[in-house]
């Protein structure tokens, strides 16, 4: 087990190395001159040269890469935003909390809705509830998150006035974005829960439990669900990464000041140091999430061997 985790961690190093190179090269490969973006297009040639020298663009690329890595790893310095001149790492830390709160609450909704609807669909198979559940999930998977968010905003914020339309501050600001974000994942969880429960219901031990005259409620709760929900939990964990992806869009809809809207704003204004840092951060997040999911597979299902 420990060996497996270590091996996976070591396996992450080359991937991380490639990602740092990609994110480092961002400034150099993308169109637009960083000095012009930073200091404005109208500076004269002389100032341009001085600034070019001062920012260290004269050095060979490997030297610059080395400096970039040292700054990042040793000093935790991700550079400064071109646009606001603010320290990128500070801003990232500040916004990380917002995104974390949003995704965690979304995951809560997704599991709550997804698991309960999935169980109902499976236990009342082929009933009208099952049909309705299946039709809504395939519809839900076809609805763009941002449009769903806009519709929620129209109905509950604009027409009914129950919630604020956008921004942050109170718990009420969080409700619509988190439901929007959780809704797509909820549909995936419904499908997964349903098939998982159905699969377990076909197992021999369920038949045995029924045969010995166990009440249906007990069969479902202590024989079926216990076993069926284990893979669901793992799958939900895997969806966390996709929630972070969805957060980029949903944050933009509700003007939620998290990492996602930071990323989009930076891309639109070509604020490369910020894009660099965020790409690195997002990549790291996914690698960690995937690792955790892989490890949890082992805990939940001892049949899996790590070799």
């Amino acid at each position: 087990m420990l060996q497996f985790v270590l091996r996976r961690l070591i396996g992450m190093v080359p991937i991380l190395f490639i990602i740092t190179i990609i994110s480092f090269l961002f400034v150099h490969l993308t169109p637009g001159d960083p000095i012009r973006i930073m200091y404005g297009a109208e500076i004269d040639q002389e100032t341009y040269q001085t600034l070019y020298e001062r920012e260290g663009f004269h050095d060979p690329l490997p030297v610059q890469y080395g400096r970039y890595m040292v700054d990042m790893l040793v000093h935790g310095d991700f550079g400064q935003s071109y646009r606001t001149r603010a320290d990128v790492s500070e801003e990232v830390v500040r916004r990380f909390g917002y995104t974390a709160v949003l995704t965690i609450l979304s995951m809560f909704w997704a599991i709550l809705i997804g698991v309960s609807v999935g169980i109902i669909s499976a236990t009342k198979r082929n009933s009208i509830w099952d049909r309705a559940g299946m039709v809504s999930t395939i519809t839900a998977l076809s609805i763009p998150e941002f449009w769903f968010g806009l519709m929620l905003m129209q109905i509950f914020a604009v027409q009914l006035g129950w919630f604020p339309t956008s921004g942050s501050g109170t718990i009420w600001h969080l409700l619509l974005p988190s439901i929007t974000l959780g809704f797509g994942v909820a549909a995936t969880i419904v499908r997964f829960t349903r098939s998982s429960v159905l699969e377990v219901m076909r197992e021999d031990y369920v038949r045995t439990a029924r045969a010995k005259g166990q009440k249906e409620r007990v069969v479902i709760w202590s024989h079926v669900l216990r076993n069926a929900l284990i893979p669901v939990v793992t799958m939900a964990g895997l969806q966390f990464g996709f929630l972070i992806g969805g957060a980029v869009v949903v944050e933009q809809v509700f003007a939620w000041p998290g990492l996602g809207s930071y990323l989009i704003d930076s891309i639109l204004s070509r604020d490369y140091p910020v894009i660099q840092a965020l790409i690195l951060l997002f990549s790291l997040q996914f690698l960690i999430i995937n690792l955790l999911v892989d490890i949890s597979y082992g805990f939940l299902n001892p049949q899996i061997r790590y070799d």
Binding site: F26, S142, P144, L150, V158, T165, G245, L268, F282
Partner: protein
Amino acid sequence: MKQNEAKPYSPFRAFLAKFLKQKMAVVAFAVVVAIMFVGIFGSFFAPYDPHRPVTAQYPEKGIDLDQLTNTSVVLEGVMSDGTTVEGSELTRVQVESENRRIASVRQSQRGINVNANTSGFTNATVEAGEVSGVFQVVVEGESQFEGREAVVSRLEPVHPEGVLNEGEEFQIDVTAVLTDGTEITDRGEIHELALRLYETEEEEDTSGFNAPASNAEAIEGLHFQSLNEEVAAVDENGIVTITGEGEGIILVQTGPVKSAVHVQAGGTAEPVLAYLTISEPNVTLTDIYKHQPPSSVHLFGTDHQNRDIFSRVIHGTQDTLLIGFVSVAIGAFLGTVLGLLAGFYGRWVDSLVTRMTDVLLAFPGILLAIAVIAFLGAGITNIIMAVAVFTVPVFIRIVRGSTLALKEMTYVEASRSIGVKDPVIIFRHIFPGTLSVVLVYLTMRIGVAILIGAALSFLGLGGDITAPEWGSMLSAAKDNSGTVFHATFFPGLAIVITVLSFNIFGDGLRDALDPKLKE
């Protein structure tokens, strides 16, 4: 199965029979075909040019601008003896809109002409000499009509007719007719309503017209006032006492609405104008310059720049389908080639390709696409590239999987044993076997590609934010039409219907081609 004895077995016919059994999928397929038709020919039958405001296009469409923004209401005067006079015969008529930005009013031959300017609601006052009435104008459009309530349109005083003598007393009863048509007869109720309606707006309401000097003092609730104190006196409850001979007029007023009660004490006199009636006390018009609501002229309404949303949605079909088809085609092509190579050759080719696939699949599609856009810059071509990039690993994985299985087939081994070259084996013997899986995923990924493409252009990464593309339409609607439902509803509905059709069609295709493929 019996049919197969007569005809040779056709895999295509078997597939068709299976597919046609799934009614949902058949319907979805029909919708997909319709959407593709709209995508190709949509620009020919879209009713309006999607790039220009509709108001600029009305002349060429033969739509009269005035007809949409103008209407007339008929004005009539009711005399104290109960006879009515046409509006054109009334003298000293003045009409005034409380908020001219929303609607302007003027007297015309037929009555009163109302002209809508921008969305909202306002009250308009009509005055003829001493008496006046009010009507409400609602201009539909962007604005919410919060705080809109019916106001008093006219007051109909009821009083004894005929000649009265000095010292006599009588009570004036009033019926208030509101702009929404309700009638209130109870004096106390009218008083309460008037107190509420005109409490804060008192200054505004009375300053607009040529009121007698006495009107300058605050008028609260239901108010009675005698203009000829030597003939008649009136108290606050509307009880009139005749004090002398002659003719007198008592004004009944709530806010800007005034009626006259003609008091005749001795002698004869001509009847005077008692109150005004307006044929339509609640006029509804449409703001045609911005955010027109859905109507027969504009099925989906118009947007913040007054462009026809229906036409824009139809034009946008092309861009949206283009993003979906081209990106998936590119992704499927590259993915299939790499998957075939990885599956067929194995070893280092396989491990390299698989490693790459794993890394790419670890990231959620939308973020991968955003990262690609960050590299390439905004623009519709780059959106296609970005969506293609995250489609590639999906196809690599499935094609590699079926290649691995097909490679072990006896016929592959046979062709290899007779010395058929690798490219020929791959193309002639293995690729056709993967085709059904590729076809299914092709359909299913188009839905996803359209979703991601729309999300990217919603985020403003599509470059041209004015383009009639569903995602950018929603983005523009979010920024400019926050309170308008139809502007955000219809483009999104188009996305949902398209993606849903592709998904259901893909599901049906999968079940018909290979039931084992179920995820």
